[in-house]
């Protein structure tokens, strides 16, 4: 009950859906009314043959003196009837096959699915020609031809959906309880697929309409004296040189009907698909506050940084930070606290729809609020992201990805860049580095990918590394190794690191200073030593410390478990 209510509320009336319904209603109206009001003009032979457009015949007359507009309107009935019949046959048989295979024995199912797969590969029209050849020309033969030709695709999509549902618990349970197969289909499968099936039916209606009229158009469908849109256009084609206007009315009718059906299908799909939402609002970048140039003593200076969402919601609220050269700064907080947005502002990698403003946003002498030299950004900022499984491009081999900055901005030849990267990978304790360079990302483990990412971010000798939750997705042993690498880089090369994490234990082990973020603001600043000594004062910081896996011992310091849940 409540579910259907939310579903109703969620239904979105997109402009496309409304236009589609209006167009289809207009055609439907013509199909119902025109045969009563216009069949005289449409079917009476007159001496006014092949006339051009005039006031009495807005689209002219055909070769036998019949009014083209009247014929186009009357033809809507047969066209819609045929399309509806075809869709009905295709949908009923398609659903039957698509669901029955899932209660059939496994081998039979495999065979049927394979055959359907093979059948889907052929264009509908080839089937339709075959069936038209067997059944001969005519209205019903066209209906059966297109219906049968549409079944494989519909059955395939239905069985894909049914497959997802049959593996859900309630169906498995029903089968174990011995519920008869037809009942499983009617009680469990169909109700759960109703919505996508409806969308699919609208889609099939649109394609069927075009396919049927195509058959009539080439003379294999509706035969004289009956007529549909396709056969009207075929008649018009014969006279196209002498009287091109004759083709206009049926062409418009076909297009309106097809467009209407398609818009309805797309509209229904969009209405049932929350992903497809589009907000309509103009977006302006927040104006940049002019800032005085201050001395460039710290490596990074962020002053009064704000980030707004597309809807104007503040995500980062006036954050100020400094990072000294060679320093490791930890930025901690739960997800959504704005720490990644702060870091991505610094890296100039905010998503396009967000707007950012700051009084000062500077790395060395680069003002990051203005257009920057891409080469300097690429070389001076090394980036290591959270999930190594998604941060590599799956379609490109490791080598070209890892050496890209070096090759594009470092003015190094491909060969030299590769040699250097192989050495860098080896120093990150990656086995068989030459092989890895030739492999695709999916062939490497998460830990290897993340160490490769670090190696790559280091290869330009950056002054700052931004590590955004770089150890979160790794298992504990790999995590320790990656942290050691960060520490080593910082010690050996003096690279400053902005280390973002929600894990206090890790931050405490690595960072010189720590800033704690909550709801887009910095709530507490500590040194690593203060953190280790347990000198945190803000309750949020304390809660984070207690929630950290490395600090289970301090868990009892928490006032109540409920608070912990709110943090998590």
């Amino acid at each position: 009950m409540s579910e259907s209510a939310t579903r109703l509320r969620r239904f979105r009336w997109t402009p496309g859906l409304i236009v589609g319904i209006v167009l289809m209603s207009a055609v439907l109206l013509a199909a119902i009314i025109a045969p009563f009001t216009h069949s005289g003009a449409a079917e009476t032979l007159t001496a006014n043959t092949s006339r051009g457009p005039s006031s009495s015949h807005p689209f002219g007359t055909d070769g036998l003196g019949r009014d083209v507009l009247a014929r186009s309107l009357v033809a809507a009935r047969l066209t819609l009837e045929m399309t509806a019949a075809t869709t009905l046959i295709a949908v009923v048989l398609g659903i039957a096959i698509g669901t029955l295979v899932w209660i059939a024995p496994r081998t039979l199912r495999e065979v049927v699915l394979r055959v359907i797969d093979a059948a889907v590969a052929f264009p509908n029209l080839i089937f339709a020609l075959l069936i038209a050849a067997i059944l001969g020309r005519g209205t019903w033969s066209a209906v059966f031809a297109i219906a049968i030709a549409s079944i494989p695709a519909f059955a395939r999509l239905t069985s894909n959906m049914a497959s997802a549902i049959t593996h859900r618990n309630f169906v498995t349970t029903a089968r174990l309880l011995g519920v008869p197969a037809p009942r499983i289909i009617t009680r469990h499968l169909l109700p759960n697929m109703a919505e996508p099936l409806l969308v699919l039916t609208a889609t099939v209606f649109a394609t069927t309409l075009i396919d049927l009229s195509s058959l009539s158009f080439v003379g294999l469908g509706v035969q004289s004296p009956e007529y549909d849109f396709g056969s009207l256009l075929n008649d018009a084609l014969v006279n196209i040189y002498s009287q091109p206007a004759q083709a206009i009315a049926p062409a418009i009718m076909i297009t309106i009907t097809g467009l209407g059906a398609m818009l309805m299908g797309d509209g229904l799909a969009a209405a049932s698909n929350p992903r497809g939402g589009r907000r309509f609002m103009s977006l302006r970048r927040a104006s940049e506050v002019p800032a005085p140039f201050v001395d460039d003593d710290p490596l990074v200076r962020i002053d009064n940084l704000s980030v707004l969402s597309a809807t104007g919601k503040p995500l980062v609220k006036g954050v100020s930070l400094e990072i000294e050269r060679g320093e490791i700064l930890g930025l901690v907080g739960e997800s959504g606290s704005g720490k990644s947005l702060t870091a991505m502002s610094l890296a100039r990698l905010l998503p396009d729809e967000l707007s950012m403003s700051a009084s000062i946003l500077r790395l060395g002498d680069i003002d990051l609020r203005r257009k920057c030299d891409p080469r300097r950004l690429a070389i001076e900022i090394g980036l290591v992201y959270q999930d190594p499984g998604t941060t590599f491009n799956p379609a490109i081999r490791m080598g070209p990805q890892l050496t890209e900055v070096k090759r594009v901005h470092g003015r190094a030849g491909g060969k030299r860049a590769t040699t250097e990267m192989v050495a860098a990978l080896a120093s990150m304790k990656i086995t068989k580095p030459e092989l890895r360079m030739r492999q695709h990302p999916h062939e490497l483990s998460g830990g290897m990918l993340q160490r490769s990412m670090i190696a790559s971010s280091l290869c330009t000798d950056p002054t700052l590394i931004i590590a955004d939750e770089s150890t979160t997705a790794l298992d504990v042993t790999v995590q320790a190794e990656v942290l050691r690498q960060f520490k080593r880089i910082n010690r050996d090369q003096g690279t400053a690191i902005l280390f973002i994490s929600h894990d206090m234990g890790v931050v405490q082990a690595l960072c010189d200073r720590v800033a704690v973020m909550k709801d887009g603001e910095i709530v507490e600043r500590l040194t690593g030593a203060q953190l280790a000594a347990g000198e945190a004062t803000h309750p949020y910081t304390k809660a984070l410390i207690a929630a950290s896996p490395g600090n289970w011992a301090r868990r009892d310091a928490l006032p109540a478990t409920t608070e912990m849940e709110t943090i998590r």
Partner: protein
């Protein structure tokens, strides 16, 4: 239309490449498993095609021998024709004959022309193949850059009106059936402006209108798919990594986004592209294009069964080839697709 289908459950997730069936064992070329898997698929599709076309003739109501002999033939004449057509042999023998005929290129004699089916197909096939190939190439050349460009320009809620305009225009033109588009093009360019030939295949210019009529609707549907895939890919983490490499726009989009969006876009467009073969058959009628489509329609009208059989076999084979080519292109772009299924 494709937007609808791909939005349904059970279809490939946009942005994600089709699931790879585990990692390829080292040392084995993924192309080998691809060849085995795809070879099985081709055998099945081809077998289905052969069986279905074979049973076409026995399924036809009435007696093919009567159809050949004509209405006023005597019983003796009909029996003789039935004998010569091999219609009184057992079904199994006839199937084996049919099969050997296919592999030796003997597809029978046309009832209507007293000419071998193979030679009819040989003269008509090049025209249909040219039309379909040009159409598919044009669709890919136009719709991929177009869809990407719109996807990039409208990314992150920019250029709303471009987004709406593109959606409306492509939505409209993909709803116009190809033969209606063909008729409209004939009226505009052939008759009103009289700048392009509208019938026959006499000059190189005569292919322009048929290919345009064939391609416009698929260009719209494929570019819509590409536009949506572009939007999905641009949201991916690896695109942020690439932006972090501070690349020029061309390199960023062509090198990093294109291969990833092509995988899903081509997978989803496979049916549109092979469906263009069907479109080509219909389009031939409008432009008097001397290809297989007009021939097969004439054969159906004349009940010339060997010709229908032969042409449907060839068209089916072309559809199989198109699907195979798409899979090979996909495999070359993204080797992960070699392990798994790519078509819906």
């Amino acid at each position: 239309m494709l937007d609808t289908i791909s939005a349904l459950p059970g279809s490939p997730e946009p942005g994600s490449a089709p699931a790879a069936a585990g990692r390829a064992p080292h040392g084995h070329s993924p192309w080998l498993s691809f060849a085995i898997r795809r070879g099985g698929g081709i055998l099945l599709s081809g077998g289905l095609l052969i069986v279905v076309t074979f049973f076409m003739v026995p399924l036809i109501p009435g007696d093919p021998a009567v159809a050949v002999a004509g209405a006023d033939a005597t019983k003796v004449q009909i029996d003789a024709i039935r004998e010569s057509l091999g219609l009184n042999l057992p079904l199994g023998t006839r199937f084996i004959d049919y099969l050997t005929g296919i592999f030796t290129g003997h597809l029978g004699e046309s009832f209507a022309y007293h000419q071998s089916v193979a030679s009819i197909i040989a003269t008509k096939l090049p025209f249909t193949a040219t039309l379909a190939a040009c159409g598919i190439i044009i669709v890919l050349i136009v719709s991929i850059p177009l869809g990407m460009l719109v996807g990039i320009l409208t990314h992150g809620s920019r250029n709303r009106w471009l987004d709406v305009g593109f959606g409306t225009l492509t939505g409209f033109f993909q709803a116009v059936p190809q033969y209606v588009m063909a008729t409209i093009l004939v009226v505009i360019f052939g008759i009103t402006l009289a700048v392009l030939p509208v019938a026959g295949a006499g000059s190189p210019a005569s292919i322009v209108l048929p290919v345009a009529a064939l391609s416009i609707a698929p260009i719209c549907s494929v570019s819509r798919v590409v536009r949506r895939e572009t939007a999905t890919v641009l949201e991916q983490d690896f695109m942020r990594t690439a932006r972090g490499h501070r690349l020029a726009a061309v390199r960023l989009y062509a090198r990093h986004a294109l291969p990833n969006l092509l995988t899903t876009a081509l997978t989803l467009s496979g049916l549109v592209l092979s469906g263009m073969l069907g479109g080509a058959i219909i389009i031939e009628t409008v432009f008097s294009w001397p290809g297989l489509g007009r021939e097969v329609i004439a054969a159906i009208v004349n009940k010339d069964y060997p010709v229908i059989q032969g042409i449907i076999l060839v068209l089916g084979a072309m559809a199989i080839v198109i699907n195979l080519l798409i899979d090979i292109v996909l495999g070359a772009i993204d080797p992960r697709t070699l392990g798994g299924k790519t078509h819906v």
